[in-house]
Subunit: 525 residues, 2 copies
């Protein structure tokens, strides 16, 4: 397997204080990390319209159905007395653990959340904005397995976790380091969050996610962020995020609502993500899922605002389908794409940053099925108007496996999507009247002055696509995309250089981790 470039890491130089951290070297490293040129921040912006699937009447009907669910069925916050207390104080109807809202009440509670917010990285150049016309792309989240062409599928380790953080740092096409990029199952369950947060802080400068598997682990994650960014800095800067999966249908368990409260209380961002496979965690018809997902997201976002008015949130969604003969989840399906388009419209009417889409697939390998499903899912999310694309790289097997080859294949398509979002510039240069005067009918434009002046910036340059002739491809060993991707991620990892980190901060992080780890016995499940 891959050798870490640990010698280079040890040469790390002290970083600048928060707000003035040195970005130059990291940016240069990132540039070298990919053969595509590093995109200026503007390349993570949407310059094209969104795809509007439903009309006003359809959207109003879904909103009314979401209100009906919140009023007639309600949402359960299980085992979280504080959440129930907050909802009751805000005027919701609380019976046992069931919370019901009058029509429009949950929506009104969401209104204090910011329309967009900035998230700081450990380097000023790594800051992102969530919301508006900004686009944030992050790796897959959660897989317990990894796979690559040589090693095959196996349980993920901390070494794999670090590799994916490094790959995400090295590419220009992701601007978020992710959260649980894979589960480091070689580390005890109750301690691995420390190693994960450390890896994001140590091996990357990009914004990242902390633990949500227990409120105390969320607190640990926030504490480590404070060691790096400064105790007070978090009060008015978002530097860490928690992804709160709703226990759909219509349930938040105490783990998730507790983690949500921890992040919101610290003024850090939560992403509220209903997770619905139609036919299991909700009805089999997509319109029902849309109303349900909207209801669940509003309930979670409302809680974040009751914990701390103005806390930054992202309106999440994860709506997909099942094979209804076997119960297996399916991805990149036409029904999932339609739901993606519609949920984005519902979110826009709330005026919040939107999470949907991603390179999703049920395939076990990085084959044609993987890319068919992934591209369909990603294009739907991008055209729908997603601000935040989870699982933008690496996802295989319905999220059970993180693929090394899939990771770089997806990266290439992320670059393409970002280029597409730039749209077309209709200026005199682009219309090229002079080129027609020069070449005329039947002419060849390859050598024209206009082509020479424009060819470098004209087209996205794929790092992986093979466009050679059949004969060249044959002579070069008939490599398919998966094989070329295998070489690519190894090259990227070998070229990785860690961004600098103040040794005093590093020591503080390692101290914190050692103390936390020593304080409790290992738990393995």
């Amino acid at each position: 397997m891959v050798t870490e470039v640990s010698g280079i890491e040890q040469t790390a130089t002290p970083s600048a204080p928060p707000g003035r951290r040195a970005g130059g070297r990291a940016a240069r490293v990132a540039r070298r990390g990919d053969r595509n040129s590093f995109p200026p921040p503007a390349r993570f912006r949407r310059r094209v319209p969104t795809f509007e699937l439903l009309d006003e009447e359809g959207l109003a009907r879904l909103e009314a159905q979401a209100d009906w669910i919140l009023k007639e069925i309600g949402v359960e916050f299980r085992g979280d007395a504080e959440a129930l207390r907050l909802f009751k104080a805000a005027g919701a109807t609380v019976k046992g653990e069931r919370v019901r809202f009058e029509s429009g009440q949950a929506r009104a509670l969401c209104a204090t959340a910011p329309r967009s917010f900035r998230m700081e990285g450990r380097d000023p150049a790594s800051a992102i904005t969530l919301g508006g016309d900004h686009i944030v792309l992050m790796p897959a989240y959660g897989p317990p397995f990894v796979t690559d062409l040589e090693g095959g599928r196996r349980y993920a380790t901390l070494q794999d976790f670090r590799n994916f953080v490094k790959l995400a740092y090295a590419t220009p096409w992701l601007n978020h380091s992710g959260g649980t990029v894979c589960e480091p199952v070689d580390i005890p369950v109750n301690k691995r969050h420390l190693d994960m947060v450390y890896a994001h802080l140590r091996y990357s400068t990009k914004p990242f996610m902390g633990a949500v598997t227990a409120p105390a682990r969320a607190e640990d994650s926030i504490a480590m962020a404070r060691l790096v960014f400064g105790e007070d800095y978090l009060e008015d800067h978002c530097v860490i995020q928690g992804n709160i999966n709703v226990n759909s249908p219509l349930v938040f368990d105490e783990t998730m609502s507790g983690a949500l409260r921890a992040y919101a209380a610290a003024n850090q961002s939560v992403v509220v993500s209903p997770f619905i496979l139609g036919g299991a965690m909700g009805p089999v018809t997509q319109p029902a899922l849309l109303a349900q997902s909207h209801a669940e997201a509003m309930a979670g976002i409302a809680l974040s605002q009751l914990v701390r008015r103005g806390a930054p949130v992202v309106y999440g969604s994860f709506l997909t389908t099942m094979n209804l003969k076997t119960g297996a989840p399916t991805f990149g399906t036409p029904e999932a794409s339609l739901s993606t388009f519609a949920i984005a419209q519902l979110c826009r009417r709330l005026g919040l940053p939107l999470r949907c889409g991603g390179h999703l697939t049920a395939s076990k390998v990085a084959d044609g099925q993987a890319m068919q499903e992934s591209v369909a899912s990603m294009m739907a999310g991008v055209l729908a108007g997603s601000n935040f694309l989870f699982h933008a790289a690496g996802w295989l097997e319905g999220g059970l496996t993180m693929g090394y080859e899939k990771f770089v294949m997806d990266l290439d398509h992320c670059g393409m999507m970002l280029r597409m979002l730039e749209g077309l510039t209709l200026d005199d240069n682009a219309l090229a009247a002079e080129a027609y005067r020069e070449a005329g009918p039947g002419g060849n434009y390859l050598g024209s002055a206009h082509t020479l002046a424009n060819f470098e910036a004209a087209n996205f340059d794929s790092a992986l696509a093979d466009t050679a002739s059949y004969e060249q491809w044959d002579e070069a060993g008939r490599q398919d995309l998966e094989r070329r991707a295998h070489r690519r991620w190894r090259e990227m990892l070998a070229a990785y250089e860690a961004p600098p980190l103040d040794p005093a901060i590093d020591e503080a992080l390692l101290d914190f981790m050692a103390r936390e780890k020593a304080a409790t016995p290992d738990q393995w499940h």
Copy 2:
């Protein structure tokens, strides 16, 4: 290789006369040909909006630039005195072979073309409409090579041609039999059009394309169609089509304009398809290509209307990119998607049926690259509002190769796109209020009455996607999509049954071919 089911073909029963041909058996065969249920005609309709990339100002600027090209640069019709005569008589400025149009003149000449038109198949159930909210999907056009997992890449033969006609007939996801689905290079160049037209007429009932490689071959194609549909039937029914590739930039050669005139004179449809790789047959910037493509399409469509006012036409386009370091064509690129969105808007403003999109790729094999590029290209075409998708199945290697596995992989995605175009139905059943009353928060919807009542029709059922568990997939031989597709096309071909054809018509066709073939010596280039 595959054995033809020739015994079954010989049992063909007489067909009903034009307009009342027996559709029942063919429809049943088609149903058996795919595990997905045969879609009613409504499933080839668009029920979702189009994606509108450019605003009014941008579109007006592109139209003005197209007008500028037509006026200042002009279009050459080389070697076609009749075309030049027609343009001159219509008031265009003709100097030598160069035709120039005043602003708006070409657009005005296009105005007599129908907004949509019906194309008859050899069976009433196979009729299609081009234009409006109708969608027509046809196989790849033109590849001289074929490939499959066992036989590898080789020159295509008539046997391959017949196989692809049969596969296109057997699937519910294509409603057009295509034209040169592959080049039968084992048949002389000057005679193979006869065998191709015969194969479409004999082994399918779906609408098809005839020859365009010489005006005389176009006439032969039309003559064969008359033998099947009746001499007079073609006067007011469209049954055959010619695809007219423009010799971009801004040139129509006599072969293409002659074939165009032959089809238009017979009141049969032409598709006018500018074929532009940015940087070679036009400038490297997409906005220029859009204006150029629009100008070329209008010039060709204008000619069709001068030949016969009201002749059915399709506004075609084939806009893609090149790898500007090597000159190799590239597909499914973000620039190509943007151009697809924009050209569709320009066509809608002319009010004509639109051809764009398709499952395009530069990949040599049906791997992840093939599906990444193909799905991006197809989704762009579908969301752009394409009425007619060439190359919807089988395209590999930039159109040089027709892939058996790729063909069925693409078919599956055609089915998905057709499902997506159906959109969402927001009725009480889809909103499923009762299901929430039944299952409530935390419930499982798998067993709910609503799920049981809806699960069969809820989701598109892929014929190829593997959604089994890793363990099941592992035990079943770890087959990737390409391997599963290999089994699939062989099963489809083995199950193929030819639609009935009146033996007298069959004999007339074979007679015609024999006479034509005997009349001239073989030409091999």
